[in-house]
């Protein structure tokens, strides 16, 4: 990784702050980002904006993660729509989505692309 590339990644939190098979929330600038930790997967960590666009509250980090039709998803705790962890798309309502962020783990550190 070049220095320039490294510059685009920002440290969010430590691996310890994550909860396996579940979500937590972090502040990245003004944004609230939901981080989902799936240690069994190749990518291990996924990031979506924490705001549920349907319920209108910052709650996605508190949903249940799983897979539906082969896609990794989180279910909103408010009205149970599923959001794709990779793309942020809502499975139930086409056209609705949340922002998905690039995120990775390096050693003990969780990094997000800004």
């Amino acid at each position: 990784m070049t220095a320039a590339e490294k510059l685009n990644w920002e440290v969010v939190c430590r691996r310890d702050d994550l909860v396996a098979q579940s979500g937590v929330c972090a502040r990245v600038g003004e944004a609230q980002v939901a981080l989902f930790y799936l240690p069994g997967e190749e990518q291990q960590v996924y990031a979506l904006n924490n705001r549920d666009p349907i319920g209108g509250a910052n709650v996605l980090s508190r949903g249940i993660v799983g897979d539906v039709g082969g896609r990794l998803v989180v279910a909103s705790p408010l009205y149970k729509q599923h959001f794709d962890l990779n793309t942020g798309e809502c499975l139930e309502e086409s056209g609705v989505s949340v922002e998905a962020y690039k995120v990775r783990i390096e050693g003990d550190t969780v990094l997000i692309r800004n």
């Binding site: 702050d17 502040r27 509250a57 910052n58 508190r62 993660v65 799983g66």
Partner: protein
């Protein structure tokens, strides 16, 4: 056009059914109902339930308000005494006059009392109305022995009632056997064996000659054969006679042995006067069952509404439970048809008797008798009613020989076949309901009312629905979700048998993929009811809905509400003050719940632990308002304060709530305890409700409020404290083991084959031999109870989850409150924009 004036004389079950049917046809008729009894129609068929603890009001089928709503003019307690046919008017005892265009006589019948000397003694009663019940009850108070005269259907019902009142009970019958109309000699003999085994003495072939003063009891009955029987009271239930006095007096044709003569249009000899129910004589026959009466009511209502409809007789087959004994009778039970042949099976070890009567070639079923086991009744009835050709070895239908008796497949039934005779639902109606979108037994039941009467057709209905769905290519997929090809019940067994304690192990052994928001909470709940580990223990994290994870209820803006446990709704002033102080300190919105607790709204995620620390310090524990678990046990104040209370309902509510608090179940569970039959705690709207009686507690099960309210069913009566608790233990654990995900107790029971009777067998009679195991499992769960909040507050790792952000101490700026009526509430979108703009 002026609306047609229809006057209905009599407000029994059939009269009421007529009104209901005619109202449903919106034929623009103006209906007047005149009933002799002081109350609107009630369910006479279940009269004896009152002695088993059911309140008389529960038998009501109609009420004044409903009639008002329907625009029906109803008058009770003032019988019609005169018909002025030339003027087309009726006159009541109080002299009121009502004009009619069409008159409907639904005057029913009265109990026949043989003219034996002494029958007018005040200790000789009849059994027909709610008022009769009151008199029987009152008389039983100073009686030790009771005799029922009449060994027919009603007589045995009545014997059941006397037994329930604690009397030494005798049945005296003139004929040589019990239920001679419905049963053949063999069936009658078997019924007698069973009834006697239940402690009822049966005396047949007895012709009562005199009722005089007794020596050891109040009365002595003397029989023609010289024998005698001493008793304290006599109840006559020796058959019914049609109430045809109005017809006789006002010159309508009546039969030689009574009954108002009607034709297939249900018209009497006056073309403006109909007669329906037990007072009608059609084709020389009185129909003394409710179902044929209903058919008459429907036909008459259709005629008055201008439709084509006729009554051409009705099937008198019947299935019932008498004194707990299953009895079924179909068609020609005695084999009186010329050329008929019979097949008989009798098992005196198990006390089962079955007989079928077929045509000489063995192809058509003409009749049947079943005593002690009615499991084949539904199939047999269908063979009989629809003239379906019998299998080549018809005896296999009743012989338990090798394996199962062949069950008549639902597919073989014609569309006209009646599946539910209580509500007259045919196979065609059920197929239509499925075409209209019903895709479960519950849906079909809701839409057609099939199987919601006596419930006898439940198995047939399920069979039919499954069959129809399968034939339409709707695979009846019972998988809980795409990750587990099992039902919740199957998963429960897999976890229990495999002693599996984690979701990962379940997924690895029985599922695929990662799981989802359906199977994760479902399996977490199963594991909790099996092993009762803390919901936030590492392997269980991520399995729960947010409410369970954070042990509070998420509201629309992402904040939570908090409900501390207030067992039985009893709370000290000190504790109330403590709740108030916490609410004040954290500025929480405060509301009293329907379950007699206090709900505190508007707590942010990170505020939950400090709030709970203060509540626990004040002596509170978690109320599990967030869980699919026991919520609250509501109570009324009971006999400690109330003038009417007969037991300590608050004490019992607290005992129950403390026992089952934290119990995880397929859905939330609610309960209540009332201190008397006034039922102020609304126990009959709960999953399990308890109502105090003078002798103990009545237990009701499977009720609920909410979207589809349902009254709970009376399950057991006059229980002592310990029995009550052990029945609830078994009931709850059996529900937890066998219900589907998110299935409340009422739908669970509706889907159990055999319904409440089956449930009683399992819980009370221990038919599955499970009772001890169920109780042991409950004891183990009760023993491992922990206040989840107390445990959480002691564990820094668990507390880590209660942070708004893992990398910042800021709070969620999306949560904005405004004040309304002096308390906070979440800001609406437009209010939020305004507030955020002005703060910048």
């Amino acid at each position: 056009m002026e609306s047609k004036r229809v006057v209905v004389v009599g407000n029994g079950m059939v009269g009421h059914h007529f009104v209901e049917t005619l109202v449903g046809k919106s034929a623009g008729a103006h209906i007047t109902v005149i009933g002799e009894e002081p109350r609107p129609a009630y369910d006479r068929v279940h009269l004896s339930d009152v002695f088993a603890g059911r309140a008389p009001e529960e038998l009501a089928m109609a009420d004044r308000d409903t009639y008002k709503e329907w625009g029906v003019d109803a008058h009770f307690g003032d019988p019609v005494v005169k018909i002025e046919r030339n003027k087309k008017e009726v006159v009541t005892q109080l002299g009121r006059r009502f004009a009619y265009d069409k008159l409907v006589l639904a005057t029913g019948s009265y109990p026949f009392v043989p003219p034996v000397p002494g029958h007018e003694n005040k200790r000789c009663l009849t059994y027909r109305t709610i008022d009769d019940l009151g008199e029987i009850k009152a008389r039983a108070k100073d009686s030790r022995v009771g005799v029922v005269v009449g060994g027919g259907l009603l007589g045995l019902e009545c014997a059941n009632a006397l037994q329930n009142l604690g009397l030494e009970t005798h049945v005296v019958e003139f004929a040589p056997g019990l239920m001679g109309v419905q049963l053949d000699e063999g069936g009658s003999r078997m019924l007698r064996r069973k009834v006697e085994a239940l402690g009822v003495s049966v005396h047949t072939g007895k012709n009562t000659q005199n009722i005089g003063k007794g020596d050891s009891c109040a009365l002595k009955m003397e029989f023609a054969d010289g024998s005698e029987l001493e008793t304290d009271m006599v109840v006559f239930s020796a058959g019914i006679r049609p109430r045809d006095n109005l017809a006789r007096e006002f010159e309508l044709a009546v039969g030689e042995r009574g009954g108002i003569v009607v034709d297939a249009n249900l018209l009497t000899t006056d073309s403006n006067i109909y007669c329906i129910g037990e007072s009608a004589l059609y084709d020389g026959r009185i129909y003394g069952l409710v179902a044929p009466g209903y058919r008459m009511a429907e036909a008459a209502a259709a005629q008055i509404a201008g439709e084509e409809a006729r009554f051409t007789g009705a099937d008198m087959s019947t299935k019932l439970k008498l004194l707990g004994v299953d009895v079924g009778s179909i068609g020609d039970a005695h084999g009186r048809t010329a050329g008929s042949i019979s097949f008989v099976f009798s098992d005196e070890r198990e006390d089962v008797y079955k007989r079928i009567v077929t045509s000489g070639d063995g192809k058509q079923l003409l009749g049947a008798v079943l005593v002690g086991d009615c499991s084949g009744y539904d199939s047999l009835l269908q063979y009989h009613l629809n003239a379906i050709e019998l299998p080549p070895e018809p005896q296999a239908l009743i012989a338990p020989a090798a394996g199962e008796a062949p069950v008549l497949g639902a597919a073989a039934l014609p569309v006209t076949a009646t599946v539910c005779s209580c509500h007259n639902v045919t196979k065609g109606d059920i197929v239509d309901a499925i075409d209209a979108g019903c895709c479960s037994v519950g849906d079909v039941k809701g839409s057609t009312r099939a199987s919601s009467g006596c419930g006898g057709c439940a198995a047939m209905l399920k069979n039919l629905v499954d069959d129809e769905l399968t034939s339409r290519g709707v695979s009846v997929d019972k998988s809980i979700c795409e990750h587990f090809p099992y039902t919740r019940q199957e998963l429960y067994h897999l976890a229990q048998v495999g002693e599996t304690r984690t979701f990962d192990a379940m997924l690895h052994q029985h599922g695929k993929g990662h799981g989802c928001d359906i199977c994760k909470p479902a399996i977490a709940s199963i594991l909790a009811s099996l092993w009762n580990d803390h919901v936030l223990d590492t392997p269980h994290i991520g399995l729960q809905d947010t409410n369970d994870t954070f042990m509070a209820n998420m509201q629309k803006d992402g904040t939570y509400s908090i409900v501390p446990r207030v067992a039985g709704g009893e709370i000290t002033p000190e504790k109330l003050i403590a709740i108030g102080q916490v609410a004040q300190k954290y500025d929480l919105y405060t509301k009293i719940t329907g379950g007699q607790r206090v709900d505190l709204f508007g707590a942010r995620l990170e505020q939950l632990p400090p709030i709970w620390q203060e509540l626990i310090d004040a002596g509170f524990e978690t109320g599990h308002a967030y869980g699919k678990a026991l919520r609250t046990v509501k109570s009324c104040v009971g006999n400690s304060w109330c003038r009417f209370g007969v037991q300590d309902s608050v004490g019992m509510a607290i005992r129950i709530e403390d026992r089952y608090k934290g119990l995880r179940a397929p859905h939330k569970l609610k309960s209540a305890v009332s201190g008397c039959t006034r039922e102020c705690a609304e126990a009959q709207s709960k999953d399990f409700g308890v109502i105090a009686t003078e002798h103990g507690w009545n237990l009701y099960v499977c009720g609920n409020g909410g979207m589809k309210p349902r009254h709970a069913d009376l399950f057991a009566t006059d229980l002592d404290d310990q029995t009550l608790i052990s029945y609830i233990d078994r009931f709850l654990m059996f529900y937890i083991r066998t219900a589907d995900r998110l299935q409340r107790t009422s739908t669970w029971m509706d889907n159990l084959e055999g319904g409440i009777d089956y449930l009683r067998e399992v819980v009370i009679e221990d038919s599955l031999g499970l009772a001890a195991e169920l109780e042991a499992q409950m004891t183990s769960i009760v023993g491992t109870y922990q206040c989840e909040w107390k445990t959480t507050l002691r564990d820094p790792d668990k507390l880590k989850r209660f942070r708004a952000f893992v990398n910042s101490d800021e709070t969620d700026n999306g949560v904005v409150f405004v004040k309304e009526r002096e308390q906070i509430r979440p800001a609406r979108a437009e209010e939020r924009l305004r507030l955020v703009a002005s703060s910048k």
